[in-house]
Symmetry: C2
Subunit: 137 residues, 2 copies
């Protein structure tokens, strides 16, 4: 159970955008260089974030990416969900019909609790919280 690079990169990029927001869009190569992320890879990550409505892109020469909402309105959970799909850890937690064994339901208690612990942790932190902690360069 490990966080994927995609997810880590995505969050770092979002924090970068939150910290370097000065009205103008931030070009992808700049983010990639500052964060040490392979540019083509970051491109696909930002594409997902754009499809999920978390960032907006401006094309053309002075283009780049910007947060679509205020940093205080974007939770870390939003970013992770956009990149990794639903936070749910096991199929039977959201779906009540997938579980037909008695013992299975016993362990289900665990996954359900784990699920809420994770969502709680991730949804309780916003990008604004993170920029406060970052060394603003």
């Amino acid at each position: 159970m490990r966080i994927s690079s995609r997810c880590e990169y995505g969050l770092r990029a979002m924090v970068h955008l939150a910290a370097h927001d000065a009205g103008r869009p931030v070009p992808l190569p700049e983010i990639a260089a500052a964060e040490g992320i392979p540019a083509p890879f970051l491109e696909r990550i930002l594409a997902k974030l754009r499809e999920s409505g978390l960032v907006k892109a401006t094309r053309g020469v002075a283009g780049g990416y910007q947060l679509a909402r205020q940093p205080a309105d974007i939770a870390v959970g939003d970013v992770v969900t956009a990149l990794e799909g639903p936070l749910s850890l096991v199929g039977c937690v959201p779906d009540d019909g997938a579980c037909d064994r008695a013992e299975s339901c016993a362990s289900r208690v665990v996954w359900r609790k784990l699920d809420s612990a994770i969502s709680g942790a991730l949804n309780g932190i916003t990008l604004e919280d993170l920029t406060r902690e970052a060394v603003s360069t």
Copy 2:
């Protein structure tokens, strides 16, 4: 971010052992049949659990598996750690030297918090807690 079948199967097997403990070892095929787990796959899972000292095996005709400790002394986190390796989600959380970027350290706050939320949830539930909830067949 999804719980692996290995982990789910392992926990179910452990709950089964906790619920069906009558002094005699429970043979693997019995667990496999009761829980709907492919026997050869379960075999490797139990091997890991045995190496981690969570179950003990008896060979020979009336052999099988038993919990190595009392159900109240085995946390779900023990099982997950045995099967999935350390619970840590990202390399830089335990290792202080792996992180050289300022922004990276900002997101580190997230992973650290997530880490403790997960460990808290998993270490707070024991097998005994789970057998209390299971329909004891």
